[in-house]
């Protein structure tokens, strides 16, 4: 337990060791609110809700979460500190988990910084705050899933740019999974079950159900099990590299 806390603290602090954290938070808040007001025309809709904010989250997180997660393992490998870290008397899964938790907490912080929007809609009208809270939690979990994928891919390389690109591509597949563009490519040859499975992997599908106000357990289970699987895979990758 102590090792988890120590690694979490170190990793979380590492984000703030450079101005990168501030830049990232500014970009995230700036683009999120910019999209809400200028692209989705928040005011013209005359609706006191945050759906024009949350619509953009899957796309924004798709690009920004790999930027947060790309360093998790690639940087350790480049610096050689992975050799230090992995020869400490701690089980690898604990290291994987606490590194991810640090990135997850950082993503949570970025979302917290967008909360003035929430205050604004409450000031302008009376939104369904339950739905907004659920949507925030959903966005955070989706960010966690993007981060787990990024962490996993980061363990494959010492090049952070490669890790970033790989994580964006992998995330993009999950985001697009529910779209007809992907499904119509699969439908002609694959059995219905496969099509259903692919469609059920859609980040946007699960996230939309949450923002529509149906906070289903299935969306929760989906994101949490995806995170669990990606982190498990992360441990396996580290183990395989040891034997390579």
């Amino acid at each position: 337990m102590r090792a988890l806390v120590l690694i979490f603290r170190r990793e979380f602090a590492a984000y703030f060791a450079t101005p990168l954290a501030a830049v990232f938070l500014a970009v995230f808040v700036g683009v999120s609110t910019g999209m809400t007001f200028f692209v989705s025309n928040f005011f013209d809709r005359s609706q006191a809700d945050l759906s024009s904010f949350f619509t953009w989250q899957p796309w924004l997180l798709l690009v920004l979460m790999p930027a947060v997660g790309m360093r998790l393992w690639a940087e350790e490998r480049r610096l050689g500190t992975i050799e230090l870290l992995m020869t400490l008397p701690v089980q690898p899964w604990k290291i994987v988990l606490s590194k991810w938790l640090a990135a997850f907490a950082f993503a949570g912080l970025a979302l917290v910084f967008t909360m003035p929007l929430w205050i604004t809609v409450n000031w302008l009208g009376s939104p369904d705050n339950g739905v907004i809270l659920a949507s925030y939690l959903g966005a955070w979990l989706m960010a966690g899933a993007f981060l787990a994928i990024a962490s996993c891919i980061s363990a494959l390389t010492k090049n952070q740019v490669l890790a970033f690109i790989g994580a964006v591509i992998a995330g993009f597949i999950f985001v697009m999974a529910g779209f007809d563009l992907v499904l119509s490519a699969v439908r002609p040859w694959a059995p219905d079950v496969i099509v259903q499975v692919i469609a059920s992997m859609s980040f946007i599908g699960h996230f939309q159900r949450i923002t529509d106000g149906v906070f289903e357990a299935s969306a929760l289970v989906f994101f949490i099990s995806l995170i669990g699987f990606a982190l498990w895979l992360n441990v396996q990758i580290l183990d395989a590299r040891k034997a390579a």
């Binding site: 090792a3 170190r10 050689g80 500190t81 050799e83 230090l84 008397p89 040891k242 034997a243």
Partner: protein, 258 residues
């Protein structure tokens, strides 16, 4: 302990990277009080062997034991007895020396109070007071190396595996590092890799010569000297060499079949 007095033991250690055999059947034991020098040309398999002892790499076959615990099958127990300085003395550049060593102490299971006490000792013996609150990225190579040594000593381990601890140090720093290793020697089993021959004479009780993944010689520095070819004193040497250098060249070039 599983293997008598040996604190480090390797049995027929082999590591292949694809078609290349980086380490090819290395077996030896190191007991308490010994300082073993791993000697060999660059790319001989010294670092790879050390990585397998530390459990960072998994051997293709064979096994490595630290204090009787298998580095692969019983990694946590093995690592508790091991202090390891990886090649290049890596450390987190964004941390201060104090934070970094406190982090390692915590990860090594020392309580905050124990950690503070232990770090206070290490500041003294490794002379880190001047840079204590400085970020590691701002340190000179010499200080960075010392931080690496301090990190390996935090939990006062029985076994020290130090990959090129004096690489990149100036002559004074080299001297200090060797003095430190000698003071640690009586209570520990120490393995030091180097390609600097004078180092073997200066600190090692035993030298193991490795080239192309194979062990070519294992003995005291004096034993090694016996390998030196008979010198023709009348011959004009273009490059002055020491007897130890002659022995090294003889072993690594001749026996490897060059």
């Amino acid at each position: 302990m599983a293997v008598g007095q040996a604190l480090v033991e390797t049995r027929a250690l082999i590591k292949s990277f694809g078609p290349v055999r980086a380490v090819d059947g290395i077996s030896f034991t190191v007991g308490r009080g010994e300082v073993v020098g791993f000697l060999g040309p660059n790319g001989a398999g010294k670092s790879t062997t050390m990585k397998m002892i530390a459990g960072f790499l998994e051997p293709t076959s064979g096994s490595a034991y630290v204090a009787g615990f298998d580095s692969q099958r019983d990694p946590i127990a093995a690592r508790n007895h091991l202090g390891y300085l990886p090649e290049g003395a890596p450390a987190y550049p964004d941390m201060t020396v104090a934070d970094f060593l406190a982090f390692v102490a915590g990860m090594r299971g020392l309580s905050p109070a124990q950690g503070q006490r232990r770090l206070a000792e290490l500041v003294e013996s490794i002379d880190l007071a001047d840079v204590w609150n400085r970020r590691i990225e701002a340190l000179s190579k010499g200080y960075k190396r010392r931080v690496g040594i301090a990190q390996a000593l935090v939990h006062d381990p029985d076994v020290l595996v130090l990959d090129e601890p004096t690489d990149g140090l100036d002559p004074n720093q080299k001297h200090e590092m060797r003095a430190l290793i000698r003071t640690l020697a009586p209570t520990k089993a120490i393995i030091v890799s180097t390609h600097i021959l004078e180092e073997v004479e200066a600190i090692c009780t035993r030298a193991i010569v490795i080239a192309r993944g194979k062990m070519l010689a294992d003995g005291t520095p004096a034993d090694l000297l016996a390998h030196a070819p008979h010198r023709d004193e009348t011959m004009q040497q273009l490059v002055k060499t020491t007897p130890l250098e002659d022995a090294f060249r003889h072993i690594t070039l001749d026996q490897a079949g060059v």
